[in-house]
Symmetry: C2
Subunit: 458 residues, 2 copies
């Protein structure tokens, strides 16, 4: 680590010099203690396992896929969509380089920059904003995605086409479509879309917010936050080792989720395949698509419905989450099974039936949503619900048909309004061993630093 | 526990009957396992210690003071202010009885009502909304307070006096004043004031939100949410055993906080004394006042200032939090100490000097604030900052003079705007052993149930 500017000639030097120089918990200390190994500096290191957590609560940043997809869903989320304010392709690339380096550092428990929040040149802003300085890495993952507008701009209200600001229009992947209007949509443009998206997940919300804040800071002059979403409770499990959590309807959610352990299902439903190198989406091989939907729930109305109605709408029991056709949580629903009155035990318009893969040619999603509560409206009703996040191989086959049917026929929709929406192409990961590191062995940004989405600009 | 309605004659009975009857983790199960002991059912039980946490992560609900004040500050907060929609004193009392019972239950890891989220009569809404059914109590505390408007109504814009809806005007405690306008105030009425306040603190945000939601549900027809605030990171320690956390300036906050272990300081600075039984505030003896201030920070501007300026504005080092006069975090600042240039090492307009008790006749507060991030503004700047919470014996001596000086002279105010404000009288606790319990030994609401603030209505 370079020596910080000597502050001895300054009035406050004797009192504050020491601590500015001290190696903080968030600074070089962890690197010296061996965390650097997590970066896979040697080309010979084994590929990071898809699901792994070290004792220090860190997940590898590098790998074939970005972290934060099959990673066991952390408890908290902070997600930000950004709009690019630059029209320079070079500046966009530089931003992605900086972001990649910062994400590689933060996810390994390092500060955003080498000097950390409280050392380094005394007359410059600190490298890191500092509010996570005493917190553990908390399983932080940072996942980047690209919106359609980054490729083709935003169409005008009169239908005039958007602008290809970065020379990327011919690389627009086929699946990065404009989502159609769904029946229950009441979308707020200020909570929708964006050129870029950053998903930060951690078991400590302050760690997730700190990550987004420092990335936003690094984007100053190049990109600006368009919207953000805080999620406080995960509503999906992405590993068979995780207990199924509950959404704000009080029901277990995502029982049939694609899990990290299902490698065949991941290939079939989550990762973009590398089958066609001529295709505009070839650069996306090994990546995925992220569908983000802010779904407000009519909490107060729901809370006044009977247990019978709630269970019939969902198609599962509220306590255990078993299908109403019988069994336990992970028993497959039997949609044909009838009760004594000859009606199906699981109603034909219930959520579990209409959302089930068997209703959609087997299409499944890797869901990674969170509960949110964003204050209240003027009537005192909570602005709360489910921030739906799903990673899919192709939204045209794995999301749009499902949501089209749900928004039209699902009786649960009476209690739901979609108020925000985003669709993003999620590039593959930065390969193990590719990061450029500085003298202290931690990632730095140079002209040779790899970055997330590099294949798109090749 | 009474038997739930037999669902065997219902179409979905065979599949869902079992789980509705099953004793859920959030339901009677914990009670049966001994949690009931926490209610101090026998009059002979020893008073709950001011600071205590059981292995199950619960704090006693009953005691001389309400929990959630000297309780070691939990990691997360959800706070809601309510406006009463009733003008009936009886309905207000009934609400407080219901709230007290629900709070006594939830804080001990029980569901909001005896049947829990998924048992009980099938054609009635469940007793509990269910989203915390599988979560531990997470150290939940629920603390109630009364706003000035509950006593004297809200003055009209033309200065016409408010209405004494509940016959409480002559019990308005002297300290429950209208806060003056402070220099940095830009208060949003939709984020300020309220007839009632409920502070829910827990180590899991979903547990805190669940508590407010179920209390709000129990208030239907009597009170409605006026505003809420989610806080994700505590910014104060209330026990010497807790590490000092960091605010969004990246600095340790609340180093000089009144701590639970300082019993003399609690009497002097936090608890309303029982010295004058004739006074309008006699009912408040053993209670406190809660000052709530939503303080937005100019995050992006702060992040572009130098480390030197940040430290000089605060008057402490960013790394360790030591005063710029030297020493370590808990060294008392030496405001007289000068540097080589003859200027004080701690600037005369620094935050630490202007907020220090020695600047305010020794007045101290028990601070219990949280970091918040509520999305962003139209320029992409985070709407983030400090949700300041402080418990004081009298806001006229312990808050107003301090904030008057800070808002006028503190150089840090350049980076701060107060956007919301509330002042509430916080009644003493429900005495140990006073709760009424039902057949299963858990608290129930009857006409004899005690309630928080009962002294006010005596």
């Amino acid at each position: 680590m370079s020596a910080p500017t000597d502050p001895q000639d300054e009035p406050t030097a004797t009192s504050s010099g020491m601590s500015r120089r001290a190696v903080l918990g968030l600074g070089g200390g962890l690197a010296a203690a061996g965390v650097v190994a997590g970066f896979g500096l040697g080309r010979a290191t084994a590929p990071a396992p898809a699901v792994a957590s070290t004792a220090a609560g860190t997940y590898p940043f590098t790998g074939a896929h970005q972290a934060g997809i099959v990673t066991p869903a952390q408890d908290r989320l902070y997600l930000a969509a950004f709009d690019l304010t630059t029209t320079s392709r070079d500046e966009l690339v530089e931003l992605l380089r900086r972001w990649t380096t910062i994400a590689a550092r933060l996810t390994q428990g390092l500060s955003a920059g080498p000097f950390g929040p409280a050392s380094g040149p005394y007359d410059a802003p600190p490298d890191d904003t500092g509010e996570a300085a005493d917190l553990p890495p908390a399983g932080l993952t940072i996942t980047f995605g690209f919106g359609r507008s980054m490729f083709v701009g935003t169409p005008g209200p009169d239908g005039t086409p958007g602008e290809d600001r970065f020379g990327l229009a011919d690389r627009l992947p086929d699946g990065l479509v404009e989502l159609p209007h769904f029946a229950a949509d009441d979308l707020d443009p200020a909570r929708s879309d964006g050129d870029l998206v950053v998903q930060a997940c951690a078991d400590d919300p302050q760690v997730a917010v700190h990550a987004i804040r420092n990335l936003s800071r690094a984007a100053f002059g190049t990109a600006t936050i368009r919207w953000t979403q805080l999620g406080y409770g995960r509503t999906s499990s992405t590993s068979t080792a995780q207990k199924t959590p509950r959404n704000l309807f009080g029901f277990k959610d995502g029982t049939a989720n694609v899990k990290a352990e299902e490698s065949d299902a991941l290939e079939e439903h989550v990762w973009v395949p590398a089958t066609d190198t001529e295709a505009s989406s070839a650069w996306l091989a090994g990546g995925s698509y992220l569908v983000a939907r802010r779904i407000r729930m009519r909490i107060e109305t729901w809370d006044r419905t009977s247990l019978r109605e709630q269970e019939n709408l969902v198609g599962r029991t509220k306590g255990e989450g078993a299908p109403l056709s019988g069994g336990t949580e992970f028993t497959e629903p039997d949609f044909a099974k009838e009760g004594r009155d000859g009606a199906p035990l699981i109603a034909v318009d219930s959520h579990v039936r209409l959302a089930h893969p068997s209703t959609h040619d087997g299409a499944r999603m890797l869901r990674r949503g969170y509960n949110f509560t964003d204050g209240n409206d003027s009537l005192g009703r909570l602005d709360a619900g489910l921030f739906f996040l799903a990673f899919v191989r192709d939204p045209r086959t794995h999301y749009i048909p499902v949501q089209s049917m749900l928004s039209r026929d699902d009786v649960l929709m009476e209690y739901l309004t979609h108020t925000g929406s985003g669709l993003f192409a999620v590039p593959p990961g930065v390969p193990d061993g590719a990061l450029v590191t500085g003298e202290d062995g931690t990632p730095v940004t140079t002209e040779k630093s790899p970055f997330v989405g590099q294949q798109l600009f090749a």
